[in-house]
Symmetry: D3
Subunit: 174 residues, 6 copies
Amino acid sequence: MNEKEGSARLPALFVGRFQPFHNGHLFMVRKILEDLDRVIIGIGSAQHSHTPRNPYTSSERQSMIERALEGENIRSYEIVLIEDVGEHSLWVPYVESLVPRFGVIFSNDPLTVRLFREKGYEVRELPLERREEYSGTELRRRMSSGEDWEHLVPDAVADYISELYGIERIVGVS
Amino acid sequence: MNEKEGSARLPALFVGRFQPFHNGHLFMVRKILEDLDRVIIGIGSAQHSHTPRNPYTSSERQSMIERALEGENIRSYEIVLIEDVGEHSLWVPYVESLVPRFGVIFSNDPLTVRLFREKGYEVRELPLERREEYSGTELRRRMSSGEDWEHLVPDAVADYISELYGIERIVGVS
Amino acid sequence: MNEKEGSARLPALFVGRFQPFHNGHLFMVRKILEDLDRVIIGIGSAQHSHTPRNPYTSSERQSMIERALEGENIRSYEIVLIEDVGEHSLWVPYVESLVPRFGVIFSNDPLTVRLFREKGYEVRELPLERREEYSGTELRRRMSSGEDWEHLVPDAVADYISELYGIERIVGVS
Amino acid sequence: MNEKEGSARLPALFVGRFQPFHNGHLFMVRKILEDLDRVIIGIGSAQHSHTPRNPYTSSERQSMIERALEGENIRSYEIVLIEDVGEHSLWVPYVESLVPRFGVIFSNDPLTVRLFREKGYEVRELPLERREEYSGTELRRRMSSGEDWEHLVPDAVADYISELYGIERIVGVS
Amino acid sequence: MNEKEGSARLPALFVGRFQPFHNGHLFMVRKILEDLDRVIIGIGSAQHSHTPRNPYTSSERQSMIERALEGENIRSYEIVLIEDVGEHSLWVPYVESLVPRFGVIFSNDPLTVRLFREKGYEVRELPLERREEYSGTELRRRMSSGEDWEHLVPDAVADYISELYGIERIVGVS
Amino acid sequence: MNEKEGSARLPALFVGRFQPFHNGHLFMVRKILEDLDRVIIGIGSAQHSHTPRNPYTSSERQSMIERALEGENIRSYEIVLIEDVGEHSLWVPYVESLVPRFGVIFSNDPLTVRLFREKGYEVRELPLERREEYSGTELRRRMSSGEDWEHLVPDAVADYISELYGIERIVGVS
């Protein structure tokens, strides 16, 4: 077995904040699993919650992902919580200390993309035309202003947010 | 004695940042003490100071409160310093670890209100019409722009801020 | 469905430091899975490594567990990394924030047992006669003094430690 | 009024860990109040609990002190929680930021004594012959080994520890 | 030798973020060394990097300064990294713990100026007319919008940023 | 110029705690400068002081080193303060973020040696026979028990410790 084959078998690492997990994230998980056997989903900014930009706790986000992927019969994933650290220059070594072995990185966050690239990782982003369609910022804006948003997330996530009174979380804090 | 009576005797916890302590805060302390024997005043964001939003240190804020309440002959209170913690989801357990026993919570900060309610606490807010009248944000805006502000705080607080050259604190940092 | 049935379905949480994962831990995982469908394995003191008491990093410990359980065809588990927090009184709320839902706790660490019991959780310990047989302290003593230790851990763990030059990790630091 | 008179009126700061509050601490509070109107009781290592050396949480220690002093009709005190900070060289500035104004320091902890003296404070220690009689270390040793200890603490503290199952806290963790 | 002479010989402390080191900083170093033998350059917000306001790591900033001053044949300086601490009221004691002995402070950051003045230090700012000419904010705005900026920094810094692909650092993260 | 020549020109990094700086450290600095043009002296555990194992603050240790090396006419060095970080597995990346470029590491601390070697660095230790002669532990034991110690440190360090009443620092805390 040559090196490239070995490397191809390492799981991908998909890093996002998932505030909340939406159809763009689901699209990306499916796309990753077309090429690779397994994906590690890294929930970033894990320690943050109850703010307009980070409304849900890491365990709420974990539940959303588990329910959404169960609804899709996707099982070849695992979830890792990744906190922000004080120093950006230490964040990649910190991720490396949390996640044993991973190959390519997937992320749409410019800072995540840059930090991994500076350390020599291969990083792939969502195609640009999809980024506008699937934006967490736009989704949270809709949630907080009372517009339709349920069609932008998996049904299981919409139900979960409703159980949690999760809209109030965004409205009440801003 | 039944449970409810017992609970009625627990002191209230009044949480604010008190940047600075103003007439709205004093109004609230008086109102709480109409119903309850004792109030614990929790100074939030205790570790912050020297920023436009948090100009005064926790010990300066403590002095303001002590002087203002002494001027009103109010003695049935105690002061607890409450720092922000990194994770909002741990803030209520952290407050519980600092303050032995308390009953109802009073606060006007939307995040404080939400976090305590999610943990099942009874939380009361200042009546809405008062909130506009008594706003720390408006007060600091007036202080930094040179408008009248002294009539919005107890005399003892106005004197204390003047001793401290406390206006410069707000102007100089912004 | 009554409440107790619902509760019986929640996964167990098995908390240890796994420095390293040994036969006693494997015995416990098997025993938990006799009664319950699923176990969450919480790797405690996750941030510590390279000390005599905590020689391996959290990702090394995660690899050990994955290899050992793969060798036993055990798949109904997931792994969560749990850091020590500065304040013991906040550790249980912190764990609750990391792990969405769990039922009974399994642990042999006296402090973990006490902290969860004080919060009202049901906690089960390894039977006493097993505790002497399976002790991480004794295992690390053997590893550092050059005595036999390989028969006390799953084969996959012994191999992994050998790959890692993991004995030197214990010897070199003490 | 000259400077010395002004300084004599500042409250004393009495710093200890109070694990638990014992008769030596009570003796010291009484002695301080013979000379001064008011004492600030600083509970040190406030963030620690559930260890053999620091069994009780800061709020449990606060309750012990309040009950003990209420039993003695002592009211001219206030309690401040003081956490350890990472850097000893910053601890005195940290205490100064928590406690608005204080004069002389009382403490029996050698590190506390040294750190305040290096910053130019007047620090007084318990007379040596009393230190042997009243030792937290000896008290905790007795509590953990099943010897008599109740006569070394105020009755209210003995009752409180008994309510709390506080002996188990020391035994179970060691 | 009298006290004042002794004090005149203490090195100055020049505090800035140096994001990046520009001609205004160089002007100030030269000006300080007209009066004093030696300057300690304190790199503030040392732990931050990879943000629009703090694009470069502390070690990158250190390299910029060393190269720029080498190009000017300036050798009577040393560099100290100064992190932000959580509490502004502890920042000056923290700096004092990092830097053994210094006399006058030079800085253009309003918060730094205020914090040192409140502790009784003599602090000097850049002349106002120079502040507009030499502004890090303006410089970063030019760098991110593709305007000319190279003439505002020493040549050695422009070269270093080019080697580092340092413009992308600012553009990519905003 | 080939790679090896380039690498030979990078300064060495000499990591120690220097509690206090003794003749063994001086021997090592001289030895390093026989082969290399420049040495970066990294003061480890920089945030610790006032404990038996770490009696002196980082700025006191920095002063000791500066005075000792001035007495030897050694000028081709610089000093960097290196704090312990919570996670040993992140310590090397942290050092890399503090110190721009360095080649070989010199240290006698087993943990430092191991952590750098695991990251692929070349690390050199003091010859074994010298380690017994020059031991910080032995030196501090002598200082605390009133035995002779002055001949084990440079004269400038003995003088500095005497000015500082530095022996009391070790005796008073233990």
